[in-house]
C-alpha cells in the first residue's frame, strides 16, 4: 500500500513537473547542483586557476566537462570584428567516487597515474598535487586561456542527469611577473620591468576564490543532448524545464570604480571587474552566443544611472570598460553602489557572472584582488538551452 502511494506520489510529481515545467529555484552558489559553471578560468602566464569539484553524494558521479576558450584570436590586440573571441571548446569526462573531492591546476590538467605518491609527514611530502583517485584524464588548457569551465552531471552512458551532486570552487592565483605589454610588474603597478626578467618581487602573489555557479536539475530531465534551463515546454524542450532557470536579475553590490579604499590611508582605490558568460551555449554548432545586458546602478543617494554591456561568448569587463562615466566614483559621488543587471528584452539568452575586486595601493605599490559571488533575483521566463553534440551523449 505504502509502495503504491509512493508510486502515485512520484507519478503526480512527474506530471506536475511536466505541466508546470519546473524552474522554481534558479542558480546557486551554495548548494550542490547538476551543472557547474566556472565563469572565470584563466591561465595566461600571469594567472593560473585551481579547480575544485566535489561529489556530495554517497554514489559515484560522472560529469561531462567543457573548457570554453573565450580568449581573443590575438589576445594582445583589442577586440573587434577582425579579432573575435576564439570560442574553442574542448571536453572531457570526470568521475568521482562517493563524497570524493578532486582538484586540478588548469595549466597542468590532471593525468591518470596510480603511482602518484600521497602527501606524507614521514617522509615529508607536501608537494603531492596529484595524490588521490584520479577523476579521469583532465587535459591542460592551451597556453593562453581565458574562458570558462562547465561540468554537466551525466549518467554512466553520458546522458545528462539531474543528480544535483556537484559543487565546486575556483582559486585564481596572480603571479607578480613582468607584463610583456605594459612592461610593468603585474602586482606592482608603476614598477617597470624587463619581460622575462627577475625585476618583480616574486614573494608577492594574489589569490582570490569564488564558488562555482550551480544549476539545479529537475526530475523531468529526459537525458537528451539539449539541456533546458527554465521555461515552458517547447519543441526543443518537450518536458519544459529540465534545470532551473537562469536569473532574471543579478545584484552586484560593489565599490564605485576608482573609489578610495576605506581601510587604507594612502591613495588606495578599488576597481571592479565582471566576468560574464551567456547561459545559452550550443556546443554542436559552435556558434558563440551574444547577450546584451541592461545595467541600472544606484548610488548611496538613491540616484540611478544606467548603461549597457554586450558580451559574446565570454568576457572579462572592468566597470570603466562597460561605461567610463556611470560607474565612476566622480560620477556616482559615493563609495558604494548597487548594480542590477538583466538581459535586455531582445536578448534570447540569460547570463552568469562573478566579480573581481582589485584593491590598488599606490603607496605600497601593490594590487590585491578578492573574487565575489553576486546575488540573484527572479528567474528568466524563456528557456536557455545548452546543446551538447549528440554523439557525446549516450553509450560511448
Amino acid at each position: 500500500m505504502d509502495m503504491q502511494r509512493g508510486r502515485i506520489g512520484l507519478m503526480a510529481a512527474a506530471l506536475v513537473g511536466l505541466v508546470v515545467g519546473g524552474a522554481q529555484a534558479q542558480v546557486t552558489t551554495e548548494k550542490s547542483a547538476s551543472i557547474l559553471v566556472f565563469p572565470k578560468v584563466v591561465s595566461d602566464g600571469t594567472r593560473d586557476t585551481v579547480i575544485q569539484i566535489t561529489n556530495t553524494s554517497n554514489s559515484m558521479v560522472h560529469a561531462h566537462c567543457f573548457y570554453v576558450n573565450g580568449a581573443l584570436t590575438f589576445p594582445e590586440l583589442p577586440a573587434g570584428p577582425i579579432n573575435p573571441p576564439l570560442w574553442i571548446e574542448i571536453d572531457f569526462d570526470i568521475w568521482l567516487t562517493k563524497q570524493q573531492p578532486t582538484h586540478w591546476v588548469v595549466s597542468q590538467g590532471r593525468l591518470v597515474n596510480a603511482a602518484d605518491a600521497p602527501c606524507s609527514n614521514n617522509p615529508a611530502n607536501y608537494s603531492c598535487n596529484d595524490a588521490g583517485i584520479d577523476p579521469g584524464r583532465v587535459p591542460p588548457v592551451v597556453e593562453y586561456f581565458t574562458g570558462e569551465l562547465k561540468c554537466i552531471e551525466v549518467d554512466p552512458s553520458g546522458a545528462p542527469l539531474s543528480g544535483n551532486h556537484l559543487k565546486g570552487e575556483a582559486t585564481t592565483t596572480t603571479f607578480n611577473v613582468c607584463n610583456p605589454i605594459t612592461e610593468e610588474c603585474v602586482l606592482e603597478p608603476g614598477t617597470s620591468c624587463t619581460p622575462g626578467g627577475t625585476d618583480c618581487d616574486s614573494s608577492i602573489q594574489d589569490v582570490a576564490k569564488y564558488n562555482a555557479l550551480g544549476v539545479i536539475g529537475n526530475e523531468n530531465n529526459d537525458g537528451d543532448p539539449v539541456l533546458c534551463l527554465g521555461g515552458e515546454p517547447t519543441e526543443d524542450c518537450p518536458n519544459g524545464a529540465e534545470y532551473d532557470a537562469c536569473p532574471q536579475f543579478w545584484i552586484a553590490n560593489h565599490f564605485a570604480q576608482g573609489a578610495p579604499e576605506p581601510a587604507i590611508d594612502d591613495d588606495a582605490e578599488v576597481n571592479t571587474t565582471w566576468t560574464i558568460v551567456p547561459c545559452t551555449q550550443n556546443f554542436e554548432t559552435q556558434n558563440p552566443e551574444r547577450v546584451t545586458i541592461f545595467i541600472e546602478t544606484w548610488n548611496e543617494f538613491e540616484q540611478a544611472f544606467s548603461s549597457f554591456a554586450t558580451v559574446t561568448c565570454w568576457d572579462e569587463l572592468a566597470l570603466d570598460e562597460i561605461n567610463e562615466v556611470t560607474f565612476d566614483y566622480q560620477t556616482l559621488g559615493t563609495t558604494f553602489a548597487q548594480s542590477r543587471l538583466r538581459p535586455s528584452s531582445q536578448t534570447r539568452s540569460g547570463f552568469m557572472m562573478v566579480g573581481s575586486e582589485a584593491h590598488v595601493y599606490p603607496g605600497n605599490n601593490i594590487t590585491q584582488t578578492a573574487d565575489v559571488n553576486y546575488h540573484i533575483e527572479g528567474e528568466r521566463s524563456g528557456p536557455d538551452l545548452i546543446t551538447i553534440p549528440f554523439d557525446q551523449v549516450g553509450p560511448q
Binding site: 542558480v27 582538484h103 582559486t171 579604499e261 546575488h375
Partner: protein
C-alpha cells in the same frame, strides 16, 4: 619567518576562541539571495597598536556592506556580537593564556566572553551602504562626494524616493580594539517589529595590511541570509528559524566545506608555499535578551581524494575561529585536516551541528611569500528538524 608570525597569531586566537566555545525549520540559508536576516560570521578589527596579539605593524579591518534590494525603505535592527575573551586579572582582551600574565598582577585566566551591541539603521530604496567595522557610521554628508562613514540622506536637506531617508540611523564602531566577532541584522518595521521582507544583501571585505613588511591582502565573502517565510513572521521578540512553527527558513543539517588540507603545497606556485584554512562559525541561535549565545557540538566528516573518511567532533559556543588543523589537536601536523595525515592536497569536510545550527565562512591563507588571503562561503545541505531561536531584547 613571516609565516611563523602568522601561524602563531592565528593559533593563539584560535585556541582562545576554542576555549570560548561550549553552549547552544523549513527551507534554506542563503548567501546568494536577498534575505530578511543577515549574518556576517566574520567581523575582525585590530589596530596597529595590538603588538601583543598581532605582529608589529599589522592592521586588520573589515568593510561591511549592506544594501536594500527593494523599492521601499527598510529598517534593520543589528547586533554586533563581541566574542573577545578577557583576562580575569586585568580585563584586557586576550587570545592566549600567557597574555594574562604580567609583573604587577601576576597571572590571570583568559576567560571566554560574548556580549552584544545593537543599533538601528534605516535604508532607503535600493540604497547601498558600507562602513568600516573600526569606525562605524554616523552623521551626514548629503552632497557628492559623500564622506566615507557618513549617511547620505538626512531627511532634512535631502530625501529619497517617497520621502525616505537615513534619519535616526547610527552605526557604532565595534566595541573593542582588537575585535573578533560577528554582526547580525534583522529586517524590522518602523517600530522595531520583525517583518517578512527578504530585501537585504551584505558582504564583508577583510583588509590586512602590514606596514613593517609592506604588504597587503584582501578577501571578501557574502553575508549569510535567512529568508523570512511570507506571512509567518509574528510580532513577538522570538524569531523561530526552521522547525514546525518556522517564521524563517531553517539552518542546514550540513555545512559542506571544500578545502586544501593544512600544510598542503600550493600547486600553482614554485617552491614550498603552504596553504591553510581558517573556519569561522557562529550559531544560528542567539538570545540577545538574556545574553546567552548559541552552542553546538560540531561533528566533522572529512573525506580525502582517496575517498577515505576521517571524523572528529568538538563543542563550540558563541563563535569558533580556528585553523582546520587546530580543530582536533593543537599539533597541526598530526591533525586529520593536515595534508601529511590525510594524504591528499584537497578534501571535503561535512560539518554537522548537534545542538544549534551553524553558519560559516572560510578564510584560505596562502603563506608561501607574503600572506595572500581568499575568502569564500561554504555550501549547505538539508534542513534541521529542530528550530533555532533568535530572542530580541
Amino acid at each position: 619567518m613571516r609565516q611563523v608570525r602568522w601561524a602563531s597569531w592565528v593559533m593563539g586566537l584560535a585556541m582562545a576562541l576554542g576555549v570560548c566555545g561550549v553552549r547552544p525549520v523549513a527551507a534554506d540559508m542563503t548567501s546568494d539571495r536577498a534575505a530578511a536576516i543577515l549574518t556576517w560570521p566574520s567581523v575582525i578589527s585590530a589596530g596597529v597598536n595590538q603588538a601583543d596579539i598581532l605582529p608589529t605593524g599589522v592592521e586588520i579591518d573589515t568593510v561591511i556592506q549592506l544594501s536594500n534590494t527593494s523599492t521601499d525603505p527598510v529598517w534593520v535592527h543589528c547586533f554586533y556580537e563581541n566574542a573577545n575573551p578577557h583576562c580575569s586579572n586585568t580585563g584586557e582582551v586576550c587570545y592566549a593564556a600567557e597574555e594574562c600574565c604580567n609583573p604587577s598582577t601576576g597571572c590571570g585566566i583568559c576567560i571566554p566572553g560574548w556580549n552584544e551591541t545593537d543599533f538601528r539603521v534605516q535604508i532607503t530604496p535600493r540604497q547601498p551602504l558600507g562602513w568600516l567595522a573600526s569606525e562605524g557610521m554616523s552623521g551626514y554628508s548629503t552632497t557628492p562626494d559623500k564622506a566615507f562613514g557618513k549617511f547620505p540622506i538626512d531627511g532634512v536637506n535631502n530625501f529619497g524616493i517617497g520621502g525616505s531617508s537615513n534619519a535616526g540611523s547610527r552605526i557604532p564602531p565595534v566595541a573593542e580594539d582588537p575585535f573578533l566577532g560577528a554582526l547580525r541584522c534583522i529586517a524590522v518595521d518602523q517600530d522595531g517589529v520583525p517583518v517578512d521582507r527578504n530585501v537585504l544583501t551584505g558582504q564583508a571585505t577583510l583588509v590586512v595590511q602590514d606596514d613593517e613588511e609592506d604588504y597587503l591582502t584582501v578577501g571578501k565573502h557574502n553575508a549569510v541570509g535567512l529568508l523570512a517565510i511570507e506571512g509567518a513572521v509574528n510580532d513577538d521578540n522570538t524569531l523561530v528559524i526552521g522547525g514546525p512553527e518556522a517564521e524563517y527558513n531553517g539552518c542546514p543539517n550540513y555545512l559542506i566545506l571544500n578545502h586544501f588540507f593544512d600544510g598542503a603545497d600550493d600547486p600553482v606556485t614554485e617552491g614550498f608555499d603552504p596553504v591553510s584554512t581558517i573556519l569561522e562559525m557562529v550559531p544560528c541561535s542567539d538570545d540577545y535578551l538574556r545574553q546567552v549565545p548559541g552552542a553546538a557540538v560540531v561533528q566533522y566528516l572529512v573525506y580525502n581524494e582517496f575517498e577515505q573518511r576521517f571524523s572528529t567532533s568538538r563543542p563550540m559556543q558563541c563563535k569558533q575561529f580556528s585553523l582546520l588543523s587546530n580543530i582536533d589537536t593543537t599539533q597541526n601536523e598530526r591533525s586529520i585536516f593536515s595534508a601529511g595525515v590525510s594524504g591528499t592536497l584537497t578534501g571535503q569536510s561535512r560539518i554537522n551541528p548537534i545542538g544549534n545550527g551553524l553558519m560559516a565562512v572560510a578564510h584560505e591563507l596562502h603563506t608561501g611569500g607574503d600572506l595572500s588571503l581568499a575568502e569564500f562561503n561554504v555550501h549547505y545541505q538539508g534542513d534541521r528538524a529542530n528550530p533555532d531561536f533568535i530572542v530580541l531584547p
